[in-house]
Amino acid sequence: MTTPRWLPWVWLLPAAFLAAFLAYPLVHLATTIASGSGGFALTRLASPALWQVAALATVQALLSTLLALVAGLPIANVVSRYRFRGRALAQALVTVPFVLPTVVVALAFRSLFGSGLPQGFLLVVLAHAYVNLAVVVRIVGAQWSQHDPNLENVARTLGATRWQAFTDVTLPSLRPSIASSAAVVFVFSFTSLGIVLLVGDSATRTLEVQILRQTSVLLDFPGAAASALVQLVIVTIVLLAGAVATRRSPTRVMAPPALRPVPERGLGRAAVYATVMFAGVIVLAPVAALIAASFRTSSGLALSWWSSLGSVDAGTTRLGSPAAALATSFGFALLTALIAGVVGGLAAVAVLAPGRARLVSVLAIVPLGVSAATLGLGLLLAYGRPPTDLRDSVLLVPIAHSLVAVPLVVAVVAPALRGTDNRLGVVAASLGARPTRAFLTTYGSVLRVVMLASAALAGAVSLGEFGAASFLTRTGSPTVPVQIVRLLGRPGEQSAGVAAALAVILVALTLAVVLIVDRIGRSELGTAS
């Protein structure tokens, strides 16, 4: 098939976007720091306070990872190996915490435990393990479902007890997936912002929180740069270690063994169902507590927080009404879906282009490695003041959210395009279709589906994003997550109640988007491929 004449040039727009809104702000940030009066950032690396935060965040992330593994491994075993009614539902349920906005998770955990026992550091660890349960269940479960149960049976006939068979045979063959999921959970927990801000005490910090404080409260930019540098180095080391552990896996993938039936009786059967119940309870309890909190007032259950969503004085003087925040968030989500859809879509189409144009699809992943706070700060310094003050243009937040969402769009669209059979286009061309027509015949239907799905995901990302938005939203028109955090910073039960109501709405919106995307993906992609 002859390629359309425009195909070699699709990289232009994504490249320009990344240059203007990622590369330039970061370079700008670096030069601002280097030339600042506070001294060069590197000298700040000697600060003991910095290393104290780094050490605490490391311990916190290690504990979060350990807890996510301990809770996630049994669930991964059950949902990826056994056949039972409600298995698909259980699998979907476990994914819920991961797609919820971090601010919502934080508030849900506060609602669940109230002034009860786990506070501060411990609650942060619990919340991180909760969010990342899906990472462990999905990544380890995928490998576990490939694992032939007869390997354990062989070990058993050679004299191993059930537990020895697990530690000698099962665990070593799951090691690559355990390592890579642990690396991901560690990085998420280590760079966490919203959860630590909302449920941590003043002693519990991550470097990400430190960066936010240094830039917005202390105005210590060299210090922030040093924090960002240390964070970047640690994250890189952990991800590399995860990648190395993943590569050292001699396991050969055969046809996955069939799902097995739940044991007929006895302990085995009880263990399977207990694990499913356990998963359901830990996933749903915080969400239920959040919903309850949105109805609870000092004079019993009432709808007052919900009915005051539209009023300006809902404990939120100077913030605008919660309903206005919803409108703002919704508008930003639509713009993000549009921008990230177009930019990410074109970057993904570049994988089909000849030569170096393909590089842009790799570069589009880069924003993933830059923390949200750093992105927000960079954009604020570069475009938040004259001569280029974009803050009034409503575009700055959607642009920041698009940077966060573009890697996701590329990750969804590019593999779908690569996996599409291009012989349809060859047939179309042989029937006289022009190159562009033939291209659309081949990729049109797949593109329509995956673009729709990924744009919706980008919208969902925007709805829940907190880090970058906290730098970029104007005081008068916050997004919902920013509004929630501000409300929680105020005293009074009304602030807390309205925040809970807003969080419930975010939960509903996020779940709706994810369900729709899942539906689209399953029905249409199934027929398209």
Partner: protein
């Protein structure tokens, strides 16, 4: 003489449904019995039930005259070889063979020394430090045989052990295995759908449907 393996009135089932009852089978010391049956006829379920891998549906399994029906897999003294070699991918060839010895409490060095002897004996001299994915299909199945024999099981069950190999290799390996089993005085039950293979290996060939009561 006490049979190495005996089943009395054994019932077979899959996911709670019984599909065969009254199976009585007896294997004398050093005897190799082949059981013939088409695929899907329940041969694997029979071996799995004897080994304890598949839940029993009634009846008794005796190994060396001892009732093992309610014992867990690892205390039955039964070795099992599958169609796939199922070598442990994270261990070397030598440590695969030494695995059962280690579980019996044999010290590491001694277990490795005996593993090397067994490897010599299955014609894999010098391959002990290889990784399992470096082996050919026939070599891997020989390692599986050495591994199963190492802890000296009372009876060895072979579940279509050669059917994943090509015809020429299958014939050669079948003859070799029969020789090795006899040299080690091991009683074995070998199930297959291939009559020629059954006859070349076994002292006695039974049809599976003859066993069903």
């Amino acid at each position: 003489m006490t049979p190495r393996l005996e089943t009395r009135d054994l019932a077979l089932g899959y996911e709670g449904e019984v599909f065969a009852r009254g199976i009585c089978l007896s294997v004398a010391p050093a005897e190799i019995v082949a059981i013939l049956g088409p695929s899907g006829s329940g041969k694997s379920t029979l071996l799995g039930t004897v080994a304890g891998v598949v839940p029993g549906m009634g009846g008794t399994v005796l190994v060396d005259g001892r009732d093992v029906t309610n014992l867990p897999i690892h205390r039955r003294g039964v070795g099992l070889i599958f169609q796939q070699p199922l070598l442990f991918p994270h261990l070397t060839v030598r440590d695969n063979v030494a695995y059962g010895l280690r579980r019996q409490g044999v010290a590491r060095d001694e277990a490795r020394r005996r593993a090397d002897e067994l490897l010599d004996w299955v014609d894999l001299h010098g391959l002990g430090s290889r990784r399992t994915h470096e082996l050919s299909g026939g070599q891997a199945q020989r390692v599986a045989l050495a591994r199963a024999l190492a802890p000296r099981p009372s009876v060895l069950l072979l579940d279509e052990p050669f059917s994943a190999l090509d015809a020429e290799l299958r014939r050669r390996l079948a003859t070799d295995v029969a020789t090795m089993l006899r040299a080690h005085d091991v009683a074995a039950v070998h199930v297959t759908h291939d009559r020629a293979e059954a006859e070349s290996v076994a002292d006695r060939v039974l049809r599976l449907d003859e066993l069903f009561g």
